[in-house]
């Protein structure tokens, strides 16, 4: 089955040459051999190898999580490298050795060197192995262990063995099992009883090679009465292709201990982020999760919705967009589940004929791959998404699904304007309505009318004489240079006669021109956007929103005036002096799934001789596109016959996938593409998430959509009087949808929890809080407080709160408080009266709003989070 072959490779993404520099690159895929190899490379003790193998068995047995299966039905676990060891060098112990991108990010954020060095100690995860690690001497002196997990397994096996997998056992979910079998890197912290770590411990994670699974494992143990604050560093913008990030974080707070864990995520959009984070708080212990989420993802482009093309930035969750369903081999409308502004990024231009899409290097476009190492029976060629910077061919629509609505054409009201003098000699202007010879009621466009408008774009023109006031037409003539013997003449006369029977045409004696002297017709054409001369004519914006047949009829009208059939190319060709006009026609073709090319014959003016007369030719551009059968019914008989008479292009044309025998579904075809170098400037980018198919059609290319992240931290309170706390901040700007949430399980009496979720939405952004508070049987006198504060900066933005409670004991006291603040004029005025500008005032209100979270963060993270929000706010102001 061809389809089966197609899907096998769907999520495989190209490996970069950069892996050559890695000390150890095992084969892709997951099996016992790989797991043993990883364990062997790390020189692990036997119990660890067993732990991994046991987890592998569970991974194989575990069903896929429902939501994951639904959203990513075909993730191929055999197509991921599970372990990469960068360079053969040992771990480094100097800040200068930090990857330059991270250092750059810090410089951009304006964090002074002194503060960067103020860190208590850090590990930076580069690829799977921890290459950077430092431990301050005084930490060691206090008996605090802060190291990477691999070292911990070797040096502190008794502690690791005792706690690893106790909070999140390998069998907890499929991803926990996966992590348990192939984990590498991560942080290990042990704080002895009653020791307080006064400065935050920090680590930086980053994924740098494409397709590298990141499976770090973090284990933090605060022994009785101890306290520690751990900060999982900002990854800095990570520019990689699709990666699976499936970390497991386990926190254990022994009786009376206190752990605070802070995340400031800024993962790259194409990272599948499936972190399982859970904490156990024993008696009288406290665990706090602090989460700052600034999400991001690709491209400013037009997508197709049932009501017409739409700029991706305007797409909102719930909208439906045109998407490719590879199972059925058809285009469908699929629902958008999320839309996000993805920040400012550098982009490539992907060009195929007139199609042009701007996308970031890592954005996956539908194409094919060749892998000589695949078993021949699976097919070494397979259809797949390929990142933009590696793209040579693209599989593009060859047809389209119908969408759109007819356009309403208002009948113009025309008036006569006089200037005259009254009996006292005073000048005045009088206006009087004129009787229109067109129908009074507005009409909807139909195929014929669109053909007429198309013909006007090619061969039409107008002569206008303005009245005294300049704002009205005194006299007008609508004319078409369609000779009597022209293929379009009879159709033109028929349509005009049906449309405006009361207006008689004037036929010029030489038979070359036909015109209608009519102010009302001219007004109507002008009102609908048909104006200008050959070089300034444009396709009005509403044409792209019409139903398929009307867009086809419009193109047919253009062809009947300026087009011809080129048998040698088996194509239609259309010539114009206006490149802009042809580009606009080409976009209409793209919405129809017709692949066009645009040539320029010459651009310099040149002198030519036409029938014995010297003329200036102003350059010409030619639009060439296939003889699409759908166009034929709308063409004049003559042109249609000529198109039918041309030998049709071979069905194999643009349908061969490399040298394979893959049969492309009829609705798509394959085209060569050119990809420009990366732009030097950054542009605003967007991405959407599409239900089911996971792709959408943008500017006539099929591109993959963004990924999901699951990031609700959880605390399980197992001992009496334990305390759990989750603080989160989410910011949603233009086109963004941010989710935040938390899970609290009260499994012991007198436990308390606080969930404090703050969200900011602006420029139509949307934030959602989802949280669960669970009070188990026997957990008496539980207190929980959920507080969701939303700050909404304008009328278009919104915020939703979904608190869930599962309460088994009646004496639980659960408080839920949700506040929605709108920045009011009073607040802005108050701050402005102190000398702040309006922008400064807004920024101050936002900063004040997130202050409760900011103040819990170490300085550099506070600065970073504030700055990120400011950058995002600036970005969305645009």
């Amino acid at each position: 089955m061809a389809i089966k072959d197609v899907n096998l490779g769907k999520y495989k993404l190209g490996w970069h040459d950069s892996t050559e520099g890695y000390a150890f690159v095992p084969k892709k895929g997951l099996n016992e051999e790989i797991v043993r190899e990883i364990s062997g490379m790390k020189e692990e003790p036997e119990w660890m190898t067993k732990f991994r193998l046991n987890a592998l068995k569970r991974f194989e047995k575990k069903p896929m999580l429902e939501w994951f299966a639904k959203n990513m039905p075909t993730i191929d676990f055999d197509d991921i490298y599970y372990y990469l060891k960068p360079t053969s060098g040992e771990q480094v112990d100097d800040w200068d050795m930090l990857p330059p991108e991270i250092k750059e990010t810090y410089e951009k954020l304006g964090i002074p060197e002194a503060e960067r060095k103020f860190l208590a100690g850090a590990t930076a995860q580069y690829e799977s192995e921890t290459v950077f690690h430092r431990n301050r001497d005084d930490l060691e002196a206090k008996g605090i262990i802060f190291t990477d997990m691999d070292t911990a397994v070797r040096e502190y096996p008794e502690i690791v063995q005792k706690y690893l997998g106790t909070i999140i056992p390998p069998g907890d979910n499929k991803f926990a099992a996966l992590n348990s079998s192939v984990w590498s890197g991560g942080s290990f912290i042990y704080v002895p009883p009653n020791v307080h770590v006064d400065m935050p411990l920090q680590a930086y994670f980053r994924i740098n090679a494409e397709n590298a699974g990141q499976f770090e494992r973090t284990l933090i143990i605060a022994d009785e009465g101890a306290s520690v604050h751990y900060v999982e560093g900002c990854s800095a913008p990570v520019y990689s292709s699709d990666s699976l990030h499936s970390a497991v974080v386990e926190l254990i707070a022994k009786p009376g201990a206190r752990i605070r864990y802070t995340t400031i995520q800024n993962w790259s959009p194409n990272v599948y982020n499936l972190v399982t984070k859970r904490a156990k708080a024993e008696a009288e212990a406290t665990v706090e999760w602090i989460d700052g989420n600034i999400g991001c993802v690709v491209s400013r482009a037009r997508v197709i919705t049932p009501s017409g093309p739409k700029v991706i930035a305007d797409v909102r969750p719930g909208d439906r967009v045109q998407s490719w369903d590879p199972e059925r081999g058809k285009f469908v409308f699929a629902e958008v589940t999320a839309a996000r502004f993805s920040g400012y990024q550098r982009v490539h231009e992907i060009r195929s004929g007139v199609r042009s899409l701007l996308a970031t290097s890592n954005h996956p476009v539908y194409s094919y791959r060749y892998d000589p190492e695949r078993p021949a029976k699976l097919g070494r060629y397979f259809l797949d998404y390929v990142r933009t910077d590696e793209l040579a061919h693209a599989i593009v629509p060859r047809t389209a699904i119908d969408f759109g609505m007819p356009h309403k054409v208002e009948m113009p009201s025309i008036e006569a304007v006089f200037e005259s003098t009254n009996q006292w000699g005073k000048r005045f202007v009088a206006r009087r309505p004129r009787v229109s010879r067109l129908p009074g009621e507005p009409i909807e466009t139909d195929d014929d009318l669109m053909w007429l408008f198309g013909l006007y774009v090619g061969d039409g023109s107008m002569e206008l004489r303005r009245g005294v006031q300049g704002d009205n037409l005194r006299w007008a003539k609508l004319q078409f240079s369609v000779p009597e013997n022209d293929r379009a003449r009879s159709k033109l006369e028929r349509i005009m006669n049906e449309f405006a029977p009361e207006i008689a045409p004037t036929r010029r004696a030489d038979g070359r021109l036909i015109s209608w002297n009519s102010v009302e017709l001219a007004e109507l054409f002008l009102n609908e956007g048909f104006r200008g001369a050959a070089r300034t004519k444009r396709v009005p914006g509403w044409v792209e929103t019409l139903p398929e047949s009307q867009r086809l009829a419009f193109i047919a009208g253009c062809l009947d005036s300026d087009g011809c059939v080129v048998p040698a190319w088996r194509s239609f060709s259309m010539k114009s002096v206006s490149r802009d006009l042809l580009e606009q026609i080409a976009w209409i073709l793209t919405t129809l799934g017709i692949s066009a090319r645009l040539h320029t014959e010459f651009v310099e003016h040149r002198q030519v001789e036409i029938v014995g007369r010297e003329c200036t030719a102003h350059g010409a551009h030619v639009l060439v596109f296939p003889l699409d059968e759908r166009l034929l019914p709308f063409l004049s008989d003559d042109l249609a016959a000529r198109a039918r008479g041309t030998v049709p292009a071979s069905i194999k044309h643009h349908r061969k996938v490399g040298r394979s025998k893959i049969v492309l579904p009829d609705d798509v075809e394959i085209r060569r593409v050119e990809v420009s170098p990366l732009s030097s400037a950054v542009v605003p980018t967007y991405d959407i998430e599409v239900e089911g198919t996971g792709n959408f059609v943008a500017e006539g290319f099929i591109v993959h959509n963004s990924k999901l992240t699951m990031k609700y931290p959880a605390v399980v309170m197992t001992g009496p009087k334990a305390h759990g706390e989750v603080l989160s901040v989410a910011y949603a700007g233009e086109g963004m949808h941010q989710d935040a949430g938390a899970k609290m399980t009260h499994a012991a009496p007198e436990t308390t929890s606080i969930i404090d979720s703050k969200s900011i939405s602006k420029d139509g952004g949307r934030t959602t809080y989802r949280g669960l508070v669970r009070v188990e049987e026997g957990a008496h006198h539980v207190k929980s407080h959920v507080r969701c504060d939303a700050l909404i900066l304008d009328e278009e933005s919104r915020s939703d709160t979904y608190p869930y409670m599962e309460i088994e004991e009646k004496d639980a006291r659960i408080g839920h408080e949700a506040t929605v603040s709108k920045v009011g004029d009073d607040q802005i005025f108050y701050l402005m009266s102190r000398g702040l500008s309006e922008q400064q005032a807004t920024a101050m209100i936002v900063n004040g709003f997130i202050e409760p979270i900011i103040k819990t963060l170490p300085m550099e993270y506070a600065v970073e989070l504030t700055r990120l929000i400011e950058l995002n706010m600036e970005g969305s102001v645009g």
């Binding site: 004029d825 108050y830 402005m832 202050e851």
Partner: protein, 267 residues
Amino acid sequence: MSTLTIRDLHASVDGFEILRGVDLEINSGEVHALMGPNGSGKSTLAHVLMGRSDYQATAGSVTVDGVELLGLPTWQRAARGVFLAMQYPVEVAGVTVGDLVTAAFAARGNGGAPADLDTQVRDEARRLEISDEFLTRGVNAEFSGGEQKRMETLQLAVLKPTFAILDEIDSGLDVDALRDVARRIEAMTSDDNLGVLAITHYDRLLTELKPDRVHILLGGRVVKSGGPELAQQLEATGYEGLAAELGVDELTVEKPKEADPFGEAGF
């Protein structure tokens, strides 16, 4: 020595004229009291002077040393040395008074906040009997009326404007707070040469804050000006008595209803 001059100021809200020609002249170091019944346009005057966008000045001029203020955005009026202490200061969660005055200095340019700003804020707080707790809270967040007004006075004292407009600073104040606030403002008029326009309903404030001039606003116009004795006369006759004496038949200029600018400000 600076002068704040208001000439024939007309202003309206939602097209309804509330100020119908106000003339005032205030010099540095002087305290002017503007008295009037509810609805006479007192608060409107304060907001128009500060340039709130939903109040439109339709005629006249407001100048500081000859520089026209009308037409400037609010923050630029602040930069020209005009300060408005509000009747209902607005809560800004998470922003301390220290943050606010630091930002205000930064916005003003000229090298930003003075190095000893923290100390200044603390000293002023002590002088105004504001406990430290209020310095770490968000401005006006869960403050009582008295605390709000003390905090407005603190900002006034730290920012050192040329002219202060005090919009009903006595409302919601107990006797002690009123005395503290009045003392501080009085000191500023003599030490820093601050010019004050104190807008008030009652003469209660004026027993604490000695005005140089008293103006009576009725029906959107200043109908009478005089020395401090005018306040006492008013105490005796009431606004209606005064109106009758002056032959003014319209005391208030309130729009029939719904013109409450605070009601719909959306919180």
